[in-house]
């Protein structure tokens, strides 16, 4: 059984470092870009509700996190609320079972219901067809190609999912 839950985070209670370490490990192994501890902490601290975790309930605690998606939401240039999908990683043994799809689905729900996002944005490598297919199946479209965006010199696409009209209005300031 796979179950899903977002990260619980109470500023007054110490976080479960075990979970955080599992999450970090999972991302580290599966993504090419290196992130420092503060990057994770930044996302998790800012929007714990947008850190969605998938557990394999048959595995012992401490080894049961098999997928994670890490996102945030904030006001962009003072005019619209922008959700940002930061990272997603699924343990290779669990891929192709719809787990990433569920994580994104749930994150989008939170972004709409709790944060009232006008749009969701992310960047991904041009040669990561799995990720591109995944996002594009939700209706994300490519708005820009970013030349040699990653440390490994790969180009990226900026992908955007418009949720309200605000996302589509062009002014000098948007």
């Amino acid at each position: 059984m796979i179950s899903y839950k977002h990260l619980e985070f109470h500023p007054e209670k110490p976080t479960d470092n075990n979970e955080i370490n599992q999450i970090i490990e999972l991302v580290k192994v599966n993504l090419s870009e290196p992130y420092c501890i503060y990057t994770y902490r930044y996302f998790l601290n800012q929007c714990p509700q947008l850190c969605y975790i998938a557990y394999d309930d048959e595995k012992p605690k401490g080894q049961n996190i098999i997928a994670v998606s890490i996102s945030k939401a904030e006001t962009h240039q003072g005019v619209r609320v922008r959700g940002y999908l930061g990272m997603i990683a699924v343990d290779p043994a669990y891929r192709g079972k719809g787990i990433a799809k569920t994580l994104i689905d749930k994150s989008i729900d939170v972004m709409i219901d709790s944060y009232h996002c006008d749009e969701i944005v992310l960047e991904t490598e041009v040669d990561n067809p799995q990720a591109l297919n995944l996002y594009e199946s939700f209706g994300f479209i490519r708005t820009r190609r970013l030349f040699r965006y990653y440390l490994n010199k790969n180009d990226a696409y900026r992908l955007v999912l418009p949720l309200t009209e605000k996302s589509t209005i062009r002014t000098y300031f948007l």
């Binding site: 501890i37 503060y38 689905d105 209706g139 589509t168």
Partner: protein, 757 residues
């Protein structure tokens, strides 16, 4: 203290007045549980995301294993070739968007030179003395010994570093992804302060040593020096303001010859073993470094050869662009420069001209804000205006000619309008000198700017006849056969042309950069076609003006309008070719759409309306041409289908639509062929630019043939009722029908769809 504090600043800090809190800090830190975050409410963790994490191998450069290398060891001739070959590879790899620390600076000799040199400089007061190549402390051994290999090596290293400094100091702004300037506090600019003659002497004397020898190693080394010497020839050119200087590209052709000869030495060079620990990541640990550890980047010998060709070929192109005749000619040349892609190099299909060529060209073309450092942009813009919409209209001399008007207010308005146009014209020139992604961004930004300028230009030009008695009209035959007199409005017309062209570029470059998914292509070609049709009618209006003015002109004025008309004729023909092929493309997407082969997002979380609006966002604020609504697109699609309503079954109806579309495709692709051969004939450039342009037209023809073949294939398939029925099923159970886009050999704006059936 910031990590960027340099030793000199350190001395200036009055350390006595500082309090040591180390002990207190450690005491307090004891109370923090491992792994927990201590953070002030008011602080954002964003700042920390750039931190380098200690003991994390992906981030901590301190964990890099640092092997030592003896810079004073003896080098054999083979080894010298190895170093020179590696250094050259590092140089071309750096210029391929890598950083200096993972390329050139990873060489211990280079690190040694730059470190000693910097140290010497800060400890000595006799600055002039240091700025003599002969005083450059390099390694103990070399400074004292006259060893042949070290003399060669030293000259080559200094020569390459000097070139590196030259590139870094070309006064053109570029982003880090185009040219990486990270230097880890090694002051490479110092290398520029040597008198160039000294560097040239050093290189030449090493070269003469090599010339005297007959061994294979020396011959190979000589080739590397031959290439380096050709690079050095760029220095005086880069300072030249004499357009004639750019005609002599012999040295670049020579370089190509040397590179070809060098490429024959592949086996020999590959057979020389690497020198252990000479190229290492150690510098990332030893020097000031704010980046995570990165592997060394050094292209293989064969790829290095391709990159050297890439560099010199594009330098040649840059020099050729600089020999333009006038504004209209520069326009044609810039389009060629901006369209060049490097499909021959691995993974480079989305890179444009070589960065050094782009920098070199921009720095000379727009030197000190003047065209070629000599012609004011305003003058040049007038030439461009003349070649497109203005011929020799009065408005061009509005500012200078007091006989026309000496009204201050109108002059001020015209002058501020022209200034805005100049600024946008400059960034229009610059857009061709960017990487392909940025080219599209530049065009995208300019759409709004041209749109705003057009409003001002409209205002100004409509007020000229009534308020200032400056009338400028032409007569043209209207669709109903009547003859009417209309205002010329050359400025506004020019701005409108530029805006429409930018809009077209944004759409079609989006296709090139694979911004659109197959399910969006139908819509994008439809919109692209709408823009091209608008552009075509506008150019037709420009043509009417030019024809009318030519018919009335006399003497010199006749020549000017004749030139304008020729230029417009070329532009209109080009637009017709693009439009016809875009239309053919659009019909093929109509077929795929009707067969329901363009898969929409499966788990869509948004609406088609929002997706359309987001896609068209760059154009949403444009006054004219107004953005059509998604309903317009729907109506268009319905209209195509309408002719097939009389059929009994859905399958028959779709079959009929597809048959009609594919016969339209056949018709259109025949038209492309005729129009393209006409286009080749009237392209105004000569020499290489004509040849380069014709190659582009050939790609269009290939795309056109591809479209025709595709439609014939699909046509056959559509006759199969079972196939069509299968396609039309609500959820086609098999994924066998898959539409993807292929680029190979085709024009970048007209990729072909591949239907895997």
């Amino acid at each position: 203290m910031s990590r960027h504090t340099n030793p000199a600043e350190l001395n200036n800090l009055e350390l006595d007045s500082w309090v040591d809190i180390t002990q207190q800090f450690f005491e307090t830190a004891k109370n923090v549980k491992h792994g927990n975050i201590v953070k002030l409410e008011s602080l954002d963790l964003m700042e920390g995301t750039d931190a380098k994490e200690i003991l994390n191998p992906a981030l901590d450069t301190g964990l890099i294993e640092d092997e030592s290398y003896d810079c004073d060891r003896d080098l054999t001739l083979d080894e010298t070739v190895r170093v020179v070959a590696n250094i050259t590879s590092c140089l071309v790899t750096w210029l391929d968007s890598s950083s200096l620390p993972v390329t050139l600076f990873s060489c211990r000799y280079i690190e040694e030179i730059l470190t000693r040199f910097s140290a010497l400089l800060s400890s000595s007061t006799i600055v002039e003395k240091i700025f003599q190549v002969s005083n450059l402390q390099y390694s103990n051994k070399l400074d004292q010994s006259d060893s042949f290999t070290y003399r060669i090596l030293r000259a080559y290293l200094i020569g390459v570093l000097n070139f590196t400094a030259f590139v870094l100091n070309i006064p053109v702004l570029k982003d880090e992804e185009d040219l990486n300037r990270v230097s880890m506090d090694l002051n490479i600019d110092l290398l520029l302060q040597f008198p160039q003659k000294d560097v040239a002497d050093l290189v030449n004397s090493a070269y003469s040593l090599l010339e005297k020898r007959d061994d294979k190693n020396s011959k190979v080394l000589q080739l590397y020096f031959d290439i380096l010497k050709r690079l050095q020839m760029l220095y005086p050119l880069s300072a030249s303001v004499n357009q004639g200087d750019f005609q002599d590209t012999l040295f670049l052709h020579e370089a190509t010859g040397f590179i070809d000869k060098l490429s024959e030495e592949n086996d020999y060079i590959d057979s020389i073993p690497q020198i252990p620990h000479l190229f290492t990541r150690g510098i990332q640990k030893r020097k000031n470094n704010i980046f995570p550890p990165r592997p060394i980047k050094m292209h293989s010998f064969t790829i290095c050869i391709s990159y050297l060709h890439y560099l010199f070929d594009d330098l040649k192109l840059a020099m050729d662009v600089l020999c333009f005749q006038d504004a209209a000619d520069l326009r044609n040349r810039l389009y060629i420069f901006g369209s060049k892609r490097n499909e021959k190099l691995p993974d480079q299909e989305h890179t444009s001209t070589h960065i050094v060529a782009a920098l070199f060209l921009e720095s000379i073309l727009l030197r000190d804000g003047l065209i070629l450092g000599a012609i004011p942009v305003s003058e040049f813009l007038k030439q461009d205006l003349s070649s497109l919409t203005a011929g020799e209209s009065v408005v061009l001399s509005l500012l200078e000619d007091d006989k026309l008007t000496n009204d201050r207010a109108i002059k001020a308005r015209a002058s501020s309008l022209l200034q805005e146009m100049e600024k946008t014209y400059i960034s229009w020139i610059q857009s061709f000198l960017q990487n392909p992604s940025k080219q599209r961004d530049f065009f995208l930004d300019s759409v709004v700017v041209w749109d705003t300028i057009q409003v001002t230009a409209d205002d100004l030009e409509t007020s000229l006849p009534d308020d200032y008695g400056l009338e400028d009209t032409f007569k043209s035959i209207q669709p109903d056969g009547s003859l009417s007199e209309l205002p010329v409005m050359p400025l506004s017309s020019y701005v409108y042309y530029m805006k429409l062209d930018s809009m077209v570029q944004v759409v079609f470059r989006g296709i090139e950069l694979e911004i659109y998914k197959p399910w969006e292509m139908y819509q994008m070609y439809w919109y692209g076609l709408y823009l091209l049709s608008t552009l075509e009618s506008h150019i037709a209006r420009m043509k009417d003006v030019a024809k009318y003015k030519l018919s009335k002109a006399e003497g010199e004025s006749k020549d000017i309008w004749k030139k304008t008309l020729d230029h417009i004729n070329f532009l209109i023909q080009e637009t017709i070719v693009f439009k016809t092929l875009a239309q053919a493309q659009q019909y093929t997407w109509t077929i795929l759409d009707n067969l329901k082969l363009l898969k929409l997002p499966k788990y869509n979380r948004t609406t088609p309306q929002l997706l359309y609006q987001l896609r068209m966002k760059p154009f949403s604020s444009v006054g004219i041409p107004q953005l059509p609504s998604i309903q317009h697109f729907q109506n268009f699609a319905d209209e195509i289908a309408e002719g097939s309503l009389r059929f009994r079954t859905e399958r028959e109806r779709v079959q009929d639509i597809c048959f009609r579309c594919s016969s339209a495709v056949r018709q259109l692709t025949t038209e492309v062929k005729t129009a393209a051969s006409q286009l080749k004939k009237i392209h105004p450039s000569r020499g290489r630019f004509k040849a380069d342009y014709e190659r582009g037209v050939d790609q269009i023809l290939r795309s056109s043939i591809g479209v025709a073949v595709f439609s014939t294939k699909v046509n056959k398939k559509i006759k199969d009722a079972e196939f069509v029925t299968q396609c039309l099923k609500e959820n086609p159970s098999n994924q066998a029908y898959d539409v993807s886009l292929s680029r190979a050999q085709y024009h970048r704006f007209f990729r072909l769809r591949r239907l895997n059936i």
